[in-house]
Symmetry: C2
Subunit: 288 residues, 2 copies
């Protein structure tokens, strides 16, 4: 296992990761980089890392594993900045929600210097930032790893073992397959939840005071960071547009059933949906 | 407060209601009617009512409050069947998710015999039936009551106090206003969650094994009973179609933003959605 891990980015994922690594002693030394000094101060107060700094050179020094946990848009630049300060033995991974463009650009940037392998730990929440971090955020969740033909086999095994040590279920697939699947189970749901918030309040927001758990759950993900999600949706736009088209067709079919008022096709549609929902894997303790 | 309450229908709502009334001694006697003998046997084993039967006459005998907790489609027939056995002083209410057609038909059926007032306790869950009942299902949730010009003022106050005794926040509005608002915060989200299940798996269900909490929460309500939801959506189809049209327009706008690949309007859209989501009232302890 790695003795020194550097995490770049102290949001919900980066912060929760540092917390889990330090508390559970999965690694001897956790270094946590943040862009702003006030976040570095927060990290100190929360005591979730052995070292915290806005200085990228100091943060990655001697790290065996560097984890990019920033918004995906700044990852290539961050890699260029940290490159001169990386050890030759360093392995780089990331936690980005889109893989094909990230894996391609980071592999290119780091080429000849460091070994890179893409990761996507599928954990998160509706609250962002250090105030929302949880030690068990990754516990029991799925981590998708996206090696390519160029990926170093030993780096893949080491990063895989690292996520497994956090009690994650690791699955491997190509970056393209990742983006195809995640568009359907994460990116489309985000866009739909956002549209539901907007559509439900088009004539006013007074209904929001009456909401039951149904509306709250259906729209929870729409509370996520707009800047972060805009980047994700744009980076994976081809796959998202493809599955959004299916969503639009399905809603058009449903509108047609309601228009006709015939209960049988509507009930069949709801039955199909319920059977799909019932086959969703549960996550054990953290599941509702 | 009522000393004898009869509940017709022993699903999640009827069963949880009986359980709460009996455990918390809100009423001296709870009678629970179910259509099938095996459910009556379950009620006995669970000890959630003082009396349980498939006999409607015995179930409503001497009841001061009768609560219809069956699927909405059978409520008018059930009222006709129980009418000869009701006391003159009985007050009737229901827990249906659609109000205008129900309030109209039940008021007509019961006219000259009993006082009726419509209720919609906004509680539920993704599991149905007696095995999913919870004593605190109604605790802290909103109950919408829908009096009309014909509603008896004393019946309204008594039923209002009854729901308040279950620690519900009671709000009054017309049946039409109810159906307008609930189409937006409950019926549309249900249809959208169902469509999301269907659209996300249009090319196969393998992605379901990778789901994080995002997909699970976004689609939770789609696991509800298809027969029950078909009735609700059809009964409130005019309002549902109206808000579904907004949903379709909003998704078409989002598709257009993705197509153009311009991050600014997409980010503005996600910001608006997040601000709406953040203004949703939280439900305290039962909120996630």
């Amino acid at each position: 296992m790695f003795s020194k891990v550097a995490i770049l980015g102290a949001g919900l994922l980066g912060g929760s990761l540092a917390l889990a690594l330090k508390r559970r002693k999965i690694t001897e030394h956790v270094s946590l980089w943040a862009r702003r000094q006030e976040i570095v101060d927060d990290i100190g107060r929360l005591d979730i890392a052995h070292f915290a700094s806005t200085d990228i050179a100091l943060s990655v020094q001697d790290a065996e594993l560097v984890i990019l946990a920033t918004p995906i848009g700044i990852m290539p630049d961050l890699c260029r900045k940290m490159m001169p300060h990386l050890s030759d033995f360093a392995i780089i991974t990331d936690v980005g929600s889109v893989k094909a463009p990230i894996v391609q650009s980071l592999t290119e940037v780091l080429q000849g210097k460091c070994r890179f392998v893409g990761s996507h730990p599928m954990a998160g929440g509706d609250q962002a930032g250090l105030s929302a971090i949880k030690e068990d955020l990754f516990n029991g969740a799925v981590c998708l790893m996206t090696p390519t033909g160029e990926t170093d086999a030993s780096a893949l095994v080491q990063v895989r073992n690292f996520w497994a040590a956090l009690n994650m279920t690791v699955k491997e697939m190509s970056p393209q397959e990742h983006d195809h699947l995640v568009a359907r189970i994460s990116h489309l749901p985000h866009l739909v939840a956002a549209a539901l918030c907007v559509a439900a309040t088009r004539e006013g927001r007074e209904a929001l005071q009456l909401c039951g758990n149904g509306f709250r759950d259906s729209t929870r993900v729409a509370g996520g960071l707009p800047e972060m999600w805009q980047e994700i949706l744009i980076q994976n736009r081809v796959e998202v547009m493809h599955t959004l088209k299916y969503m639009q067709e399905t809603l058009a079919d449903a509108a047609d059933m309601l228009e006709k008022g015939d209960p049988i096709p509507l009930q069949d549609f709801l039955k199909l949906a319920a059977s799909i929902r019932h086959s969703v894997a549960s996550r054990g303790l953290t599941d509702e």
